[in-house]
Amino acid sequence: MRPFSYQRATDPNMAVQALSAAAAASNPLTQATAQPLAGGTTLIDLMKLDVMRPAAIVDINPLARGWSAIEPGSDNLRLGALAKMSDVAAHDEIQRNYPVIANSLKLAASAQLRNMATLGGNVMQRTRCSYFRDVSYENCNKRNSGSGCAAMDGVNRMHAVLGTSDQCIATYPGDFAQALIALDAMVEVTGKSGTRSMPFARLHKAPGNSPEIETTLQPGELISAFVVPGRWPRSVYLKVRDRESYEFALSSAAVALDVQGGTIRDARVALGGVATVPWRAREAEALLKGQKFDDGLAQRVADAAFADARGRQHNSFKIALGKRVVARALQQAVTMEI
């Protein structure tokens, strides 16, 4: 690991000042010379691999005093960015009113990593593309802009089939983000000029022609909270993977339904493990609204969700698998007892 200077931020202003001072000239943010340290489960790992090379680390864990509250309200849910995955997953009200959130967290990583990792860090985690994580591969547009993509014609079984570009097919690896994007969550961002709020759907950027730019965050900005409107007791996170536990998704679906008298009033569908960014399947949702559920509808919805999917040599199976995951998640959501 390369040397870095370590600083501990005891209030948000200090953190923002330290990060923006050192990062001002840097572009993109993921290669900024100063990086915030929360749980460290991505950052320290990637620093050991020499993929991330910050010269300054700003430890923001002391901010947890103000930024880790779990606050279920009557009309929304507020989650502090420094809340630990394990605490949110185990929270009674979240399990009851937002099972898609609780399960997206519970099915991720290991017990140890969930104890360390924060919600803010979780949505900022980097891809598990093996060509990105191994610096001995020269061609990675995410690491070295313009260097090419070794995954494109490499072993791309784990790679994305949605939201790809001819520059990058790396999969967004997280689970929690699918729950957030499905539920129309807002993200609160704290920076030099205070706190701003934006739809979570605007946080991540598809690779396009600049895969090295992964989010819309600016240097010196930190995620401070997430706000989820409404309650979604009829919601499911289904994750299919090579191992039963402690593995990233091959395909996952976050589904939330509002069903009254057998008719679907509102429907949310988001996909994980198959896309370059947290992926909302709005065209699939549109087919569900106002309908009564049956297996034929589930199939049409699943087909719609993957209508634009493009497979490559080793990952085309994800299209068939992903459709089955969507259909099964819908069936589970419709039949769940609430």
């Binding site: 040397p3 005891t10 050192a22 001002a24 010379t33 489960t41 050991k48 290991s110 140890q112």
Partner: protein, 204 residues
């Protein structure tokens, strides 16, 4: 555990952080710091060791370490507590599992500086004198290992697994112990050991 007088404590109040410091981080700060804006926050010079006090198994340990040192390396290389094992060193195998507070974490991805002020418990801190902790005894009784390299991490993880309330069923034990890999595949016996120790640990 040398006390290096030139070392720095981390934090914002000790030294001025330089604008653009990251790019120039290898230049010693001492000469330049005074000329900088006094309001700017502070970073430690990466070329110098940092003083840190870690609380390990109930004792305060003063160390002077490279800022890059993980809790795992602080334990093994500086405190000679070699019970916690380095397997993958990337948070994937669980061999380095320790408790920080009452939570199990992987010590290989935890910076020692970030663990300052917290209670760290390692496998060396579990037994009471010569009497093994119930989980240690259960691993012996159930032959829950072959080579033993993953065992300290398995045991620390298992203690936390029980206290979290995740040892009620075999399926739960397997799911919540999945962060600890055993290349010898002693898993059936590990599940048996966790089940044996759970009631005794829950009694307190």
């Amino acid at each position: 555990m040398s006390d290096n007088s030139s070392s720095r404590s981390p934090g914002f109040n000790r030294r001025a952080f330089m604008a653009g410091a990251a790019g120039a981080a290898l230049i010693p700060m001492t000469a330049r710091a005074a000329a900088q804006d006094a309001r700017a926050p502070v970073a430690q010079d990466p070329a110098l060791p940092v003083d840190v006090t870690l609380r390990v198994n109930g004792q305060d340990k003063r160390l002077s370490i490279d800022a890059r040192t993980t809790v795992l390396d602080a334990l093994r290389e500086h405190l000679r507590l070699t019970g916690s094992k380095k397997g993958c060193d990337h948070g994937q195998c669980g061999a380095c599992t320790v408790l920080i507070g009452d939570r199990r974490v992987v010590s290989c991805l935890t910076l020692a500086l970030a663990a300052e002020g917290q209670e760290i418990t390692t496998i060396e801190g579990l037994a009471t004198g010569d009497r093994l902790h119930p989980m240690q005894q259960a691993f012996v009784d159930n032959d829950a290992f072959q080579c033993g390299y993953c065992t300290p991490g398995q045991i620390m993880s298992a203690v936390a697994c029980v206290k979290e309330g995740h040892a009620g069923t075999d399926a739960d034990i397997r799911k919540y112990m999945s962060g600890n890999i055993c290349r010898c595949a002693a898993y059936p016996n590990i599940v048996a050991a966790v089940k044996q120790a759970a009631p005794e640990i829950m009694k307190g």
